[in-house]
Amino acid sequence: MILLPRGNPVKENVNPGKVNLPDALDKLRQGKFTGYLRFDFSEGTGIFIFQAGRLISSLFETGRENLIAYDAIARTFHEALKGDGRLDIYRLSPELAFSIHALLHGEMLHRGQDLQLIDIRSLLTRMRDEQRSGCLRIYSQNHIALIFYRDGKPLGFFHDGSTDIETTADTSMSVAREAGAKVDVLITRGDVEKSLADLMETANIAGLWNKSVGERQRQREEQENAASRTLEMREGERRQKTLALFQKTAQQHLGKIGVSLVDKEFDRLKLNGVSLGEAQLTGFYDNLTKAAKLVAGPSKIELMLDEMKKGARSLLKGP
């Protein structure tokens, strides 16, 4: 689970499977958007960070692995096309957007430290003394607050609903005081800001998208084929069971030749892709009656057909 402040919402709770993502990204680029896109899927979370229309960072995190850059974009596209994800877009200031990047890609110095067991003030002092750049992420069950540092100096505070770095620590400190609050310490080394390339410029976004669309299409076809095969197998099973029932009933009433008559008339059933149902058996019953008249009387045939219809009804009433 990636813990991030929500920022200023631009769009929330959008199904990314219904969006042409390359087009959407291009629009954000054209609009010089600054902020981030958060994709939540059952398989993981994807984050795309924009700074003044440049896609400066992407991350896809699952419980087992973290993908970055093109791999993250491709995986996000792949998951989005499954159609059961959620997309939220938040606007941020340019500086904060970069700080989010630092937060996501920084080195984890401490993880999940219980704030009841740690002296937050001495931790802040240490950040200052060691001239660290990075982020303290303070979170409780319901709230999250971030304190960004650069070279030991606090850049500001960020919390749920804020669009920019704030100068007061009130909210952050109030989160720290909540029951069960924890802190992560992430640091960045060197000046990476200048080295960030625009991923939309260096990556073939449309190509990645098309590849994902192709894969998804292939998967869907495979699923459909598998479903079709399952359906065919089930249908075959239903036919076999029905035939076996008819053969047994015919054997009881007409003997060996009755079984042969059932086999013959069952073979002649023309289903044309329709699954076997009572309606399709009407012709079978008629033909069997006609043929059975040569070896048995109407009362015996009627008795046999009644048993067959009763058995078939219970066999075929399923989907």
Binding site: L261, K293, L294, V295, A296
Partner: protein, 227 residues
């Protein structure tokens, strides 16, 4: 003896009536068989079962009786062949009307054939009767074997025992028609003092009586089985 012939006529009337009724009310494949047995009635009564009937001395009527008898065994043999084919392939075709019309057509054609030729005298009628009885004798034997095969194919169906009854019917017919053929071939009508004639004569009468009874009984039994 006239009374015996009267009894025979009554039995054949019953047998023929039952057979014809059976042909109407049952599956198409029974039509040829039942119509064949019904034709025995016509073939038997016309030539001699009822001497009181008018036209007994008419050579055309007498000859026609033998021809209808021949058609009877051919039609019913065809019916049993159809039934056997059905038990092997489960296929059957045709319509009852077609069977009735075909039989009627063959009878009419035979009558026309007789009418456009000289009147059939006793010698011609004897030849026609030999032809008729030869057909009956050999086709009875063939039919017994065919019915045995049909029985084996349908022995666990409700109708199966009916085919055993048909085997008995053809055994009776074999005795009836075989003895008549023997009398005709050896011209025993003119050697009545021979024991061969006496045996053949009574075998003929007995076979005829048993055949008429067994035909009627078999169709009644079949009707019961096919209820």
């Amino acid at each position: 003896m006239e009374q015996f012939h009267l009894v025979l006529a009554v039995f054949w009337l019953i047998a023929g009536g039952v057979a014809f009724y059976f042909s109407i009310g049952n599956a198409r494949v029974w039509t040829s068989i039942a119509v064949g047995f019904f034709l025995i009635l016509l073939g038997e009564i016309i030539p001699g079962a009822l001497p009181i009937l008018p036209g007994l001395d008419n050579p055309y009527i007498l000859a026609m009786g033998h021809i209808i008898g021949t058609i009877a065994i051919l039609v019913m043999s065809h019916g049993f062949q159809e039934y056997y084919v059905f038990t092997r392939t489960l296929d059957f075709e045709g319509s009852k009307l077609f069977v009735y019309l075909s039989v009627a057509g063959v009878i009419i054609a035979s009558l026309v054939f007789l009418l456009i030729n000289p009147a059939p005298g006793p010698e011609v009628r004897r030849v026609i009767r030999i032809v008729e009885n030869t057909n009956w004798v050999f086709l009875s034997l063939i039919n017994i074997d065919l019915i045995r095969k049909i029985y084996l194919n349908v022995k666990d169906t409700p109708i199966s025992k009916g085919f055993i009854a048909f085997m008995v019917v053809f055994a009776c017919i074999f005795l009836w028609k075989g003895s008549q053929l023997y009398i005709d071939v050896y011209d025993l009508e003119n050697k009545k003092d021979l024991i061969n004639y006496t045996i053949s004569y009574f075998t003929n009468l007995g076979g005829n009586l048993l055949a008429s009874i067994s035909v009627g009984a078999t169709f009644i039994y079949l009707a019961k089985l096919l209820r």
